[in-house]
Amino acid sequence: MLVVVFLAKLLRRKMKYHVVHAKNLLKRFDSLTVLDNVSLEIAQGDVFCLLGPNGSGKTTLINCILVLLKPDNGVINIFGNSDLVEAKKRMGVVMEEDGFYRDMNVMKNMQIVCLIKNASFNEIPILLQKLSLWDQRNKMVKKLSQGMRKRLAIACSMVGNPDFLIWDEPYNGLDPTGFQFMRNLISELREQGKTILISTHLLDEVKKTATKTALMHKGKIREVLEVKDISEKYGNMDKFYMHHVPELF
């Protein structure tokens, strides 16, 4: 039995494929180039962190992946599929602004997500309990704290058991327990073979949770590295960041 489990794990690792394959993405807003020839590959099972200062293009890149913005040039494939609308069926999303129906309660917001994802309402209690929101289920979203809204956004992103999660600034508004909870959740999802793309500024969280990181600055990806290689190459995460974004220090 153990051998079978071991072989299955080995096979899963060997069969890693690219969940995201983006090539030469260019995006301009009027004369401002927000994405400048960005290419990116995210392998299945990676916890991939997009690092970078404000305005570096992280959210724009995510919005292009989510088909909210159309790149002026370049191609994006997700799960080997160029039809990103179709690919979104296997994706879960946390956006920078939560986008909830604020005068509706937690349950109803979750029900709408289930209907969009064509998932069963039976998932709702499981996810709300997992995110410690079950007691808040009848509360209006506008009455939730920022941290709770973030947890709710994460619960929504997990509806339908997606293979690929995109979390844009998931740590905003979380308290220290929330951070610990996120670390545990990410490690649990990683165990399940999920791929996660996280956009954040928090270097410490990248160090603790990510497998790979890309540093973006001024619309360009400066470097993509395995997190375990950062200390070898730069000493620590701060130095890696400072190396690429020296003007901010």
Partner: protein, 247 residues
């Protein structure tokens, strides 16, 4: 996505707190025709049920159409204001499905309004007029019901067009009362006979004339259908041609 799921999403969103005001207004609108009918009943010598069906429809017309347009502006505008439309698209809701959901909602609300008019007519004729079933049924005008449906859908599409194109709920909520007032001033000037202003070709007036017509009015019907086509086309392009930047 299935039509059932789309309908369920719109149904869940229908009973949110910000829509309650519209339900109260609708209740007020439903009750006023009974009062007006009762006043007329007192001065009539031999009242029959058929006299009251169009009276109910007429007293509902202007505010019913206005309410329909601003309800669509409020409902859809909330999706844009809160970012829930953007989030829905990010989560996998296609623009086509979102649009279909709004069309379903327009149709559902139009049917709801017509059923409400019928319900008021039934309440009035059963409890105030004490008419028998045959007389009550004879009084219902099926052509008028068809006219009402098209006119209400026209008003809903006017609201959809405005909010999907301009994406500004507050301006939309203010715009429609002003627009309808302006149209009715033009209508009155036109009716006075001093100046020909072609008011019957305006979107609000054409819907109003269709709504209150007991017969098949081909001209009003065609004008409203043309407006519906134009509004829906612009609304669709307002959705697909726009990039969804963060608000």
């Amino acid at each position: 996505m299935t039509l059932v799921n789309l309908a369920r999403i719109e149904y869940i969103k229908l009973f949110r707190k910000s829509n309650l005001l519209f339900f109260f207004l609708a209740v007020y609108l439903f009750i006023t025709p009974i009062g007006r009918g009762y006043d007329e009943l007192k001065v009539m010598e031999n009242p029959v049920a058929g006299d009251f069906f169009m009276a109910m429809v007429n007293s509902f017309s202007i505010m019913g159409l206005l309410l329909m347009a601003i309800f669509m502006v409020n409902n859809t505008g909330n999706d844009f204001n809160e970012g829930s439309y953007r989030k829905g698209i990010a989560m996998g809701l296609s623009i086509q499905d979102y649009y279909k959901g709004k069309l379903l909602l327009s149709g559902f609300l139009s049917v709801f309004v017509i059923l409400s008019v019928l319900l008021i007519y039934l309440i009035f004729t059963i409890f105030f007029l004490r008419a028998d079933a045959v007389e009550i049924l004879k009084g219902i005008n099926p052509v008028s019901i068809l006219n009402q449906f098209v006119a209400l859908t026209g008003a809903a599409c006017f609201g959809l067009f405005f909010i999907m194109f301009f994406r500004n709920r507050t301006i939309g909520l203010v715009f429609f009362p002003f627009w309808f007032i302006t149209e009715f001033i033009v209508y009155l000037l036109d009716k006075s006979g001093r100046q020909r202003l072609f008011a019957e070709f305006f979107p609000g007036i054409s819907s109003y004339e269709l709504f209150t017509s007991p017969d098949l009015e081909l001209q009003s019907l065609m004008v409203v259908i043309i407006y519906i086509t134009i509004f829906l086309t612009i609304a669709w392009y307002g959705l697909i041609l726009r990039e969804e930047k963060a608000g």
